[in-house]
Symmetry: C2
């Protein structure tokens, strides 16, 4: 095994809780790469194995900067790339050696594909019993839907999430973020690190099976709990809360604000702030249960007052009165906020500006700059040498 030279700036970027771990990343597009992005952000060495020629499909996905996919840049920053033809003997040998020496493997092929390629869990565990082998898929490794194509939209559609998003008089609505993909990715990240904790005790890895569908079901919360308790399927309730009022978006002169007056004290402050203190005395609004029953009349009462001023005015007054409230900020506004800057939630990788790492650790740096995502096979020669036979 030849000694390996890693540039100093790359090494320093690897100072995280997962420093020293080797991850073989066979995943593509989003759920798997988001999981391995988190592993890389926290210091693991992630070797991304791509097919020769085109590499990961997401290299062709926008948004683009100077012809480069920032979609790819975001979730592959700080990784190394090697292009391997999994049908070619020499390349298969490199992958096998990588897996034999790896702590973690992450893949998101359809169930069964890794077995057919000859790199399935059982075969790899026989060669490397310490390997944590993580498979993230749309519907999991088991069940009648296991081979169904796993687009985020398909999973969101079938999980109930779209049925409960939107307004009662409107259409089922897909959240604007690919939450099935990303919840699958976040849980794969956590499951891998949990399995590494278990390995420290038992000396053995295991097969981690995360389904975007399972993840989505786990997030349904109130509507799922109601159904499992034998209650009717919940309707779409727009931006409201299932059991608290006022807790919704409300129209001001120029647009909506979010107001969350979750208890009697907040409600009294809200009524006083909008110049309607007598509302808090009405029997129909005496406590949350009463307000919840009368939520539509309550909305009308509040909006009569709120429509007299623009949202920004009300936010200043409501904040001063301590009433939980929020503007509906657009994406440029959210990314440009001072909070975002202080939290280091916009970082750079080369010439690209990307979302930062959503976990901060007192013992480890949270760099403002991450290494760019690799060009296809950028690290190929070095990795082939490092993981050659003998």
């Amino acid at each position: 095994m030849a000694a390996q030279e890693i540039p100093a700036d790359e090494l320093s970027a690897r100072k995280g809780p997962l420093a020293g771990l080797l991850v073989v990343d066979l995943s593509r597009v989003l759920a798997g790469p988001y999981a391995t992005m988190l592993l890389a952000d926290l210091g693991a060495r992630v070797v991304k194995v791509e097919r020769p020629g085109r590499g990961d499909d997401s290299r062709a996905y926008g948004p683009f900067v100077d012809g480069e996919s920032t979609y790819y840049q975001h979730v592959n920053r700080g990784k190394e790339s090697v292009a391997l033809d999994l049908a070619a003997t020499a390349d298969r040998a490199v992958l096998l050696r990588l897996i034999e020496r790896a702590d973690v493997l992450v893949e998101n092929f359809r169930p069964g594909v890794m077995d057919r390629l000859g790199f399935g869990w059982e075969a790899m565990a026989a060669r490397n019993p310490r390997l944590v082998y993580a498979s993230v898929s749309g519907f999991g490794q088991t069940g009648p839907l296991r081979e169904r194509p796993a687009y985020d939209a398909v999973v969101q559609s079938m999980s109930g999430i779209m049925a409960i998003t939107g307004f009662a008089d409107g259409a089922p609505t897909k959240p604007g973020i690919p939450i099935a993909d990303l919840a699958g990715g976040m849980l794969t990240f956590g499951a891998v690190t949990a399995a590494l904790v278990g390995r420290a005790r038992t000396g053995r890895g295991c097969w981690v099976d995360v389904a975007m569908f399972d993840a989505a079901l786990s997030l349904l919360e109130n509507p799922a709990l109601a159904v499992l308790a034998g209650q009717p399927a919940p309707a779409r309730i727009g931006n409201a809360h299932y059991s608290i009022a006022p807790f919704d978006t409300y129209a001001c002169a120029d647009g909506p604000v979010t107001i969350c007056a979750a208890n009697d004290g907040f409600f009294r402050s809200l009524c006083a702030t909008i110049g309607r203190p007598e509302l808090a005395e009405r029997p129909a609004y005496v406590d949350n249960a009463a307000r919840d029953r009368h939520r539509e009349v309550l909305r009308a009462d509040l909006e009569v007052a709120l429509r007299s001023r623009p949202a920004a005015d009300w936010l200043v007054r409501l904040e001063a009165a301590g009433v939980p409230c929020a503007p509906i900020t657009d994406v440029p506004g959210a990314l440009a906020s001072e909070q975002t800057a202080v939290r280091n939630m916009v970082i750079t990788a080369g010439d690209y500006r990307l979302p930062g790492t959503p976990m901060k650790f007192s013992a480890y740096p949270d760099p403002e700059t991450r290494p760019v995502a690799p060009a296809l096979d950028a690290d190929g020669d070095r990795i082939r040498a490092e993981f050659s036979a003998g």
Copy 2:
């Protein structure tokens, strides 16, 4: 230290990758408890510290079964409860001993509260240098918004998620799941286990700082990347994909279906299946870039055909043709599906039916039954004895 007796069924439920770890859980309501639910599901011993009298606020949140909150049951299953008055000397001593012997502490008070209570990170790390101390909050431990009240709706509102959810001609829309809370919870879980991996190397714990706001920003994907690349703020695009067409919900005779014809082959199969093979030959639809430019005309063309049959009919035909598609399933349908059953994604805890664990490990059981969430102070006597002085 007295020997502790744990019922056998409870012990067996603790066989997971995190078995042997002690977690002190000072968190309330959702983001923190969801994180510690995942830790408990994977075998950690989680001692939930609640205030005497009412306990966690979420004990009063619906849905209810026989007067018990299933909201509380879901995210607190398998935990132990001790009621401690953090202003009382004897109770403070119990908590201190718990923290001294714990591997992990999770809290979601507003930033600064734990310090004021005398249990802040620095003081606790001085007593237990191996402690992983996790704080999950709305906006994080730093920045101008750090003390802002952290309802999920506030964070979603300010993160851009609502601005990009919904239809172009409709209102900003909150996803039907509390994704800021739950993404914060999932990342706290993963950050804690990652910090435990780091501790195995360094021997020291650290302070983990997870913000629901940071989590939300990390999930914005395409719209954030476009804005950071200097492009305009993306509009709300309903259920469509930013750059692929047809990839949306489409109207059939009785309601919508989701169709994801993400490449030319799928598009040709789609056109043939709906009896319009000639559509695939039109120059306006020759490749994805062309289809994307003409997505509204394309929708009209597809829906003329799709409206001739009900959604269920089309789904059978599209599936047979291998075109990625999905029904828009409601929550009862999703929970009652065979896939859900095979994946063990509805479990029981006592008399309650709850969502299962969204991570499966070959080396550890995935029980169909979990211990119920504790009554307030149900384990108080045992925990006080175990963590008494001397």
